[in-house]
């Protein structure tokens, strides 16, 4: 995309800003003090659809009047509503304007990397453009996509979505006619055309409901709901409860169906067949729906098989458009900074942390060699500004490398050991868990609004002394870092109070100084692990925040929740830097790419989206899950991604190509935890069904043959090899697995609450 290239050119400018980022720590406290004032953020999230929608309706009416040459009424109405004349002069561009929520703005000026910080540092209120209802955001997103260009003006959708009214009695006949036709076509086309059934069914049903044909709608539903694919059952259940026009108002699922076009991928031949059939039969009702509510992505070539279609379908709004996944993604890793590694003798224990710099040898390791040359797929080192390494970070990196030399090489014959941390007496209240990267701390979020931090090493948790005591300390002494800690407060665990609702997401900062937690109360909180107090409450999501995640380089973090918008924050800004809008349902999980340039979000609309942090664009839409996605994991090389959903399946994705490359079946319940081993050979998955499963990912990725054709079309044949890939299943007694973590030496840690 052009914007991306621009960004690369502007790197020089960006460096100036970089200095600004590095002041964290104290900056956070400042942000804290000002955070209560951030009330403007309240309007950002889903405002009750009222005002925005009214406005749109008004515009629609005006447009309608104008089209019918009723200029007088137009004037009157305009005067009444107090609208400026230009508001409706260009209805089409206007609709685009109405939809231009945060995203287009962001994407427009996202070209230069400065915007990332400058926008916030001058405290430009992001709020006004963002106040558009999520609907607007959703739609605006499709504007960003080049393919969305020929979209209908939104205003029309609101007013006339289901106004063309056919005879309700004929609906079942229409549907049946199409069903018969599709059943009669050649096998190769049948599977493709069958995709039409579900969106058609939904829209016909909604049309009936909208036009107050309640009984016909019920009959229609009963007659044909059984035909739909079983993975749509959830949506059908919601649909079935909607039987009155009044219900459609304010129903989110409804909005999704009405405002987003269901995307189908159909080969040209099949599409021609369908078109000819509908035109022959004069079946305008169905043709209208297809024209208006469906987006048919036509491709040349062989029609897809049933299994190919099934693998990709299942999301709320059909598959991702093909060109939605065409943007280049720099999935490579950033270069590791050059750090001289003091190599201790092999037999020395890693415990002497301060390190005795004796013999300085250059490190010979895979890590070291990787850092030598730039990965062609990696983004520019400075594509987004990253915080500078501090001394303590360097120490940690050294530790990391030392540990890495002792890492166990995993393979199907050499499985990792699993250490399970059970939370006892949690009474069903454990909602989130995270480990620090060095596996020294474990944090749990609980339904009773508390966050608890445990030390799993003999080193106890200590608080920094109070300010008065700190002033008495000799600041010049060598062990000042030791002296500032209050020995009296040493304990194995600490409790953090502050949230007022269940804590659903939790994440340690890479430097172990901070902890993030997101909660039902709509806030994300940043806690200091030095003082064990809350530093900042980030307000912006007014609805439950389901997940939050620190960037692997710290400083940035991402949060996503019920308001369907993922927000990118920097710890020292109380307002988000980016808002990623586009999902059609709750964002259930968020994850940073290892190079920190991208963010993946999984959603209850059963899609995964990958967002470019720099531009704010959505660069991948991955469909194929049949249930809300609850876990995501990137492979350590950044090339692959794994996702787990309530349907109990793990899907593997090639990030670069935007392709599904594997399907791992075996779990029988929601997968809440996924993690690749440190070298990426093994994927561990943990589920509500009380099992941890290990999968051979090397084999999984090898088995997929990617020729140019499949890469281009995305029509991939998935091998049915889940059993061969499954390396082990480990049952717990009665503990759902909700978090997994590989230590630096490739020991697998799992966590969950014992459920007697």
């Amino acid at each position: 995309m052009a914007a991306v290239q621009d960004g690369q050119l502007n790197m020089e400018v960006e460096k100036d800003i970089k200095t600004e980022i590095t002041n964290d720590g104290s900056g956070n406290i400042n942000a804290n003090s000002s955070s209560p004032g951030s009330t403007s953020s309240g309007g950002k999230s889903k405002s009750p659809a009222g005002s925005g929608e009214d406005q749109q309706t008004l515009l629609a009416v005006l447009q309608f009047l104008k089209r019918n040459k009723l200029t007088e009424s137009v004037d009157i109405l305009r005067r009444e509503a107090g609208l400026s004349a230009d508001a409706d002069d260009s209805p089409v561009s206007d609709s685009a304007g109405a939809g231009s929520g945060g995203v287009p703005n962001v994407s427009a000026d996202g070209g230069d990397a400065n915007s990332l910080l400058s926008r916030v540092s001058i405290a430009t209120p992001v709020a006004p453009p963002a106040t558009a209802p999520p609907k607007g955001l959703v739609r605006s997103h499709s504007k960003v996509m080049p393919s969305g260009g020929e979209d209908q003006p939104d205003v029309n959708v609101v007013l006339s979505a289901y106004s063309q009214q056919g005879d309700p009695v004929l609906y079942p006949l229409y549907y049946n006619g199409l069903k018969k036709f599709i059943e009669s076509v050649l096998d190769c086309h049948r599977a493709e055309l069958s995709q039409v059934f579900y969106p058609l069914f939904v829209h016909m049903y909604l049309e009936l409901v909208y036009n107050n044909h309640e009984n016909e709608a019920k009959q229609f539903f009963e007659k044909f709901s059984g035909d739909q694919e079983c993975y749509y059952e959830e949506d059908l259940r919601i649909l079935s409860s909607m039987s009155k026009k009044e219900h459609m108002k304010g129903n989110e699922t409804m909005l999704d169906f009405r405002t987003s076009k269901f995307v189908l991928r159909i080969s040209r031949d099949s599409y021609q067949l369908l078109k000819r059939h509908l035109q022959e039969r004069q079946n305008n009702q169905i043709w209208n729906i297809i024209q208006e509510h469906l987006y048919i992505d036509i491709f040349d070539g062989m029609p897809r098989s049933k299994s190919q279609i099934d693998a990709m379908s299942g999301s709320l709004a059909g598959e991702g458009k093909r060109d939605a996944n065409k943007a280049k993604v720099f999935y490579g890793l950033l270069k590791e900074p050059e750090i001289e590694v003091p190599l201790d003798d092999e037999d020395e224990e890693a415990e002497n942390e301060e390190g005795k710099p004796k013999k300085k040898k250059p490190k010979k390791d895979s890590m070291g060699s990787k850092s030598k040359k730039q990965d062609p797929n990696a983004p520019q080192q400075t594509r987004i500004p990253l915080p500078e390494l501090k001394d303590s970070d360097k120490l940690d990196k050294i530790m990391n490398m030392k540990e890495a030399t002792k890492k166990i090489r995993l393979s199907p014959d050499n499985l990792p050991s699993i250490c399970f941390y059970s939370f006892l007496n949690a009474y069903q209240g454990l909602t989130a868990v995270d480990f620090t990267d060095d596996s020294s701390l474990i944090a749990g979020g609980f339904a009773d609004s508390t966050v608890r931090v445990w030390s799993v090493t003999p080193k106890k948790l200590r608080r920094v002394k109070s300010a008065a005591d700190l002033s008495n300390i000799d600041k010049e002494s060598d062990d000042v870092l030791e002296r500032i800690m209050d020995e009296k407060t040493a304990s194995e665990s600490k409790i953090l109070y502050g949230h007022s609702g269940p804590v659903y997401g939790i994440s340690f900062s890479p430097d172990r100084n901070y902890l993030l937690s997101s909660s039902e109360d709509g806030t994300v909180r940043l806690w200091s692990l030095q003082t064990f107090t809350c530093l900042v409450g980030y307000k912006g999501h007014n609805y439950p925040v389901w997940d939050t995640q620190f960037s692997p380089y710290g400083y940035y973090f991402i949060s996503g929740g019920h308001d369907r918008v993922a927000r990118l924050w920097a710890t020292d800004h109380y307002q988000p830097l980016r808002m990623f809008a586009g999902h059609l349902a709750d964002i259930t999980c968020t994850l940073f790419h290892p190079n920190s340039n991208y963010v993946a979000t999984g959603s209850a609309d059963r899609t995964i989206r990958l967002w470019d942090v720099l531009t704010g664009n959505c660069v991948r839409i991955l469909t194929g899950h049949k249930g809300p996605i609850h876990s995501l994991a990137f492979s350590p090389n950044g090339k692959f991604m794994a996702s787990g959903a309530t349907d109990g399946r793990v899907l593997l994705w090639d990030v670069g190509h935007g392709l599904m490359v594997g399907e791992l079946k075996g779990h029988s319940d929601t997968i809440y935890a996924l993690k690749f081993s440190r070298d990426g050979e093994i994927l561990a998955s943990g589920s509500m069904d009380n099992t941890v499963k290990l999968w051979d990912t090397l084999k999984a990725f090898d088995d997929v043959e990617l020729d140019d054709f499949t890469a281009a079309t995305g029509h991939i044949h998935l091998p049915e090899n889940s059993q061969e890939l499954l390396l082990g299943t480990y049952m717990t007694k009665s503990t759902p697995v909700i978090h997994l973590h590989f230590t630096r030496r490739n020991l697998l840690l799992a966590a969950g609450a014992y459920n007697p």
Partner: protein, 645 residues
């Protein structure tokens, strides 16, 4: 694609009567039918909407159960004030009632006497959240430690012994679970393929070095001289999950041990071995069916053997017979099926040797004990008719010329045994009045003594009823179930408490077990089993250890008063047992049990209540299980089942 695959989802709405009832409850009197219909649809839609939102919270809370707080959060999402006052710890015990063609689910809110609550000591403060680590897998192999599930789950062991061909072996377990998740076609294909492989099951009979060491230690401790060590070993057998592989060894050990020690008349060792059997049976992860061919002969030997000890006149071998008889009854209850017919075969064996004139008193005692442990119906059909004959024989010994001291002791024991078991049965079945002469006419020599026992039993039952009437409320009062979950994973640490695992299993065993087809089973009854231990009862404040509890039929109706229509059809059964738990060794504290059996219709509520009973440490005792099971078989054995096998 069957049209009727899904239920008619869109037609599920609340009945209009509910609308009326709700309107009336807030003072709106005359609500028109149309308004009701409109309201009910609207309300149903809103409820569904909220439920769907609440599900989101459940998923993100990483739970499988929807809680009231999820509903609250969903309401909050819609800007509706949450419903206050509906906090529940675990689940809401909805009760079900039907009548007049209508079905009703309701939340039972009892009237609680405030003073009872004030006077009961406070429950313990719930334990704080804590973290515990264990190895789920070591280099790909799951260690058999208490924290991990048993390598071969009980269901699988059961399937293995009952349907050996269909079973998935432990090693293939994973593949089996995958198949579930897959499409039907591939699963079928795999099934065929594996079917061929399974013809030759791979079974390793080697024990690892650790297991060998464990086996050696355990067997030595079980038959050794140190009682403390033995208690520990038995505890380990009764709770450790990883014993599946050693089961054949244990079974052979017991069988051989009994064979040798019966010959040597080593009473102590026999007792130890029987306690091992007991522990094995108590282990919730083991399914013994495969090893009954070794265990049952051993147990039966201990019941009926002519001589079990060196000095029959002094040693208390009677206790061993009682204990073994109870074991026998327990295994009958658990493992008897139409295929193996254990119960009828055992009954036949006992009856045959009892009927034999030449049988010794010791064996005679064992036979009677074995039979009477099988339940009141066995007593009624097999023992009561023979009371006269047996009475005459006892009379011959006790009043006739002194034959031998041993015979006399034996006759005495048989007499007290008969009295003990028969009295309770007669008290329940025989109509009043208890006439001494009538008893003599019916039961011969034992008649008069029996009569006085029956009177005593009746009086006790009446007394019990009163007391229970007073205490029912507190007994069944739902208490925070926190105590159940306190000790957590039952780990090897100090907090190991097997009760967590065992209480539910023993309860379900009782309530769900269907009567085997050979027996004309009565309507399924459910039980509450409560146990108090005089020694270590910390959680149960309600029944103090010394309280002698009696129950009567009226207690049943008091508990089930809400379902009054059903109580009249069935006679609640009530039984009191009070005896030393171990019966042997005397090392265990005295325990008391109440077993209440109630009519079916009340069972749903009782079941849920029993789940909420404060678990006392003693409720894990084998006897509580056994006592419950004894009551389970209220309908047993018409003579037809005594046909030769």
């Amino acid at each position: 694609m069957a049209e009727e695959r899904r239920p008619k989802q869109c037609t599920v709405v609340l009945p209009t009567e509910s609308m009326k009832a709700m309107a009336e409850s807030i003072g709106v009197g005359q609500l028109q039918e149309e308004s009701c219909a409109a309201l009910s649809e609207e309300v149903s839609y809103r409820i569904k909407e909220i439920a769907q939102d609440a599900l989101k919270f459940m998923h993100h809370g990483k739970r499988r159960k929807l809680t009231t707080s999820d509903i609250d959060h969903a309401l909050k999402l819609k800007n509706v004030e949450p419903l206050y006052g509906f906090q529940s710890q675990e689940f809401i015990p909805f009760r079900f009632a039907s009548g007049g063609g209508r079905e009703l689910h309701f939340y039972e809110e009892k009237e609680v006497d405030l003073s009872d609550i004030i006077n009961t000591p406070l429950p313990r403060v719930p334990l704080d959240v804590s973290l515990k680590a264990h190895w789920l897998s070591i280099e790909g192999v799951q260690p058999a430690i208490p924290e991990n599930p048993p390598p071969a789950p009980k269901e699988q062991q059961k399937a293995e012994s009952t349907e050996p061909l269909k079973v998935v072996k432990p090693g293939q377990e994973e593949e089996g679970s995958i198949q579930k998740g897959q499409g039907a076609i591939s699963a079928e294909a795999k099934g065929k393929k594996e079917g061929l492989m399974r013809m030759k099951p791979r079974s390793t009979h080697e024990l690892s070095v650790e297991q060998q060491l464990y086996y050696k230690e355990i067997t030595e401790a079980c038959v050794g001289s140190c009682e403390a060590k033995r208690a520990e070993a038995l505890q380990s057998i009764a709770t450790d999950p990883g014993l599946y592989q050693m089961l054949p060894r244990f079974s052979t050990f017991i069988s051989e041990g009994v064979r040798v020690n019966v010959v040597q008349n080593n009473l102590a060792l026999l007792i130890y071995l029987m306690r091992m059997v007991k522990a094995l049976m108590d282990n919730p992860t083991l399914y013994l069916e495969k090893y009954l061919h070794e265990l049952i002969p051993a147990v039966v030997t201990c019941i009926v053997s002519k001589q079990l000890c060196l000095r029959p006149d002094v040693d208390n071998h009677w206790a061993l017979r009682d204990f073994a008889a109870r074991l026998m009854a327990q295994s009958c209850k658990t493992f008897s099926t139409t295929t193996n017919n254990i119960q009828s075969r055992i009954t036949k064996t006992f009856t045959k040797s009892w009927l034999d004139e030449k049988t010794q008193w010791t064996t005679r005692y064992g036979c009677i004990a074995g039979l009477s442990e099988l339940g009141p119906d066995v007593i009624k059909t097999l023992i009561l008719p023979r009371l006269t004959v047996e009475g005459a024989r006892i009379k011959a010994v006790s009043e006739g010329p002194v034959v031998s001291n041993i015979d006399k002791i034996g006759a005495d024991h048989v007499q007290s045994l008969l009295l003990k078991h028969c009295a309770s049965v007669i008290a329940k079945t025989r109509p009043l009045p208890d006439n001494m002469e009538q008893y003599r006419a019916d039961y011969g020599y034992l008649g008069p003594t029996l009569c006085s026992h029956v009177v005593k039993a009746r009086a006790q039952a009446a007394l019990q009823a009163q007391q229970v009437n007073r205490t029912t409320l507190t007994i069944t009062q739902p208490r925070p179930t926190l105590t159940v979950s306190q000790s957590g994973i039952g780990g090897s640490g100090g907090s190991r408490s097997p009760s967590i695992i065992k209480v539910p299993s023993s309860l379900t065993l009782m309530s769900t077990r269907p009567g085997t087809p050979t027996q004309p089973s009565p309507p399924a009854t459910k039980y509450i089993v409560m146990a108090t231990s005089a020694g270590a009862s910390s959680t149960q404040q309600v029944l103090d250890g010394s309280l002698v509890i009696t129950l009567s039929s009226s207690s049943g109706s008091s508990v089930t008063s809400t379902v009054a229509s059903a109580t009249s059809t069935l006679q609640p059964l009530v039984k009191l047992e009070s005896r030393g738990a171990g019966g042997l060794g005397g090392s265990r504290p005295l325990q008391k049990y109440i077993v209440v059996s109630l009519p079916t219709s009340a069972s749903s509520s009782l079941e849920s209540k029993s789940g909420m009973l404060p678990p006392s440490s003693s409720s894990t005792s084998p006897i509580s299980l056994e006592a419950g099971m004894k009551m389970d078989h209220t309908g047993y054995v018409p003579n037809g089942t005594l046909l030769p096998i």
